[in-house]
């Protein structure tokens, strides 16, 4: 078994309104910054033990499917690195 960190990044699908990101962008503009868009995402770092990177990714993928992301509104990606 090897120790891995699987990083799951969950973001709203393109086209799904993100009022929080919009509000944050406005606040940055109020501070005098210039930007054309702001997108936010949630990042989960999962430390786990697995046979290999593929097994670690599969498990993290299932976690994203079953809880971390809501497939109706979210896309997600998983990146695995040895710890």
């Amino acid at each position: 078994m090897t120790e891995f960190t699987a990083t799951v990044t969950v973001r709203l699908k393109r086209g799904v309104l993100d009022p929080e990101a919009e509000t944050t962008k406005k606040a940055l503009e109020r501070l005098g910054f210039e930007l054309s868009a702001l997108r936010s995402a949630d990042r989960f770092e999962l430390d786990l033990e697995a046979e290999d990177a593929e097994a670690a990714e599969t498990r993290a993928d299932e976690m994203a499917e079953r809880l971390l992301a809501n497939p109706t509104i979210h896309d997600y990606d998983v990146a695995v690195a040895e710890r």
Partner: protein, 225 residues
């Protein structure tokens, strides 16, 4: 008939739901989620509140609590299940009903009376109304914007599973009357069975004449009678 009102940590409309149901002569009791449901539940309410502090997403944690397996089983057996506000979020997060409820377009928590158009009167939840009736029921949520993928939305409409839409006082379904930016003004939907429904507005807060400006919500709760 005893309706089980499932109480999670952070539920805060469970007492209101019990009181509103009893006012209508329907027996109801709170059930702490860890105690599970009775062996043969007669009816289930998933009440409003902020279960698990809305961690991750509103309803996400409660939707995965063990009691929800019992709720799903009961729903599949035809037991009436109503999700209100946070209960609606729990219902959609658990897959009992389609779509998702997410951050209001205004990015604000909104607590106000709204008007709903009854889209179907031939369900247990709306038998007290006529199709096209306009009822006044309050909302109180920050994450009530109904989102659904385009194909699933078409299916929902085709199958007649939209139960309530936000509308103006005259019953017109307009953007102005949409308090939270919900897709197609959807305020409440049916599950795969007509005995399962969720809605963001609070019928239990529009039932008791002593505390509510409207008692239009009572008809929804009468489904349990």
């Amino acid at each position: 008939m005893t309706v089980s009102v499932v109480q999670f940590g952070g539920s805060n409309c469970d007492r209101d739901a019990v009181r509103a149901l009893r006012h209508l002569g329907i027996d109801a009791e709170r059930r702490w989620h860890e105690d599970g449901l009775p062996a043969e539940p007669d009816g289930i309410v998933l009440p409003g509140g902020f279960s698990y502090g809305d961690y991750l997403r509103a309803g996400a944690m409660a939707a995965r609590a063990p009691v929800m397996a019992e709720v799903r089983e009961a729903a599949e057996a035809g037991v009436p299940v109503l999700g209100v506000c946070n209960g609606a979020q729990i219902g959609s997060e658990s897959g009992l009903t389609p779509g998702a409820f997410t951050t209001n377009a205004s990015a604000r928590f909104q607590c106000e009376p709204v008007h709903l158009r009854v889209e179907r009167a031939d369900t247990p939840w709306t038998a007290a109304y006529d199709e096209g009736d306009v009822i006044e029921v309050p909302i109180a949520h920050g994450e009530g914007r109904f989102e659904i993928e385009a194909d699933a939305h078409d299916e929902l409409v085709d199958e007649g599973r939209v139960l309530f839409r936000y509308c103006d006082e005259a019953g017109a379904v307009t953007d102005e009357a949409n308090p939270n930016g919900s897709t197609d003004n959807v305020a409440g939907v049916l599950g795969e069975r007509e005995t399962v429904a969720v809605l963001m507005p609070h019928p239990e807060r529009a039932t008791l004449p002593d505390v509510a400006t409207s008692t239009d919500g009572a008809g929804i709760l009468r489904a349990f009678a």
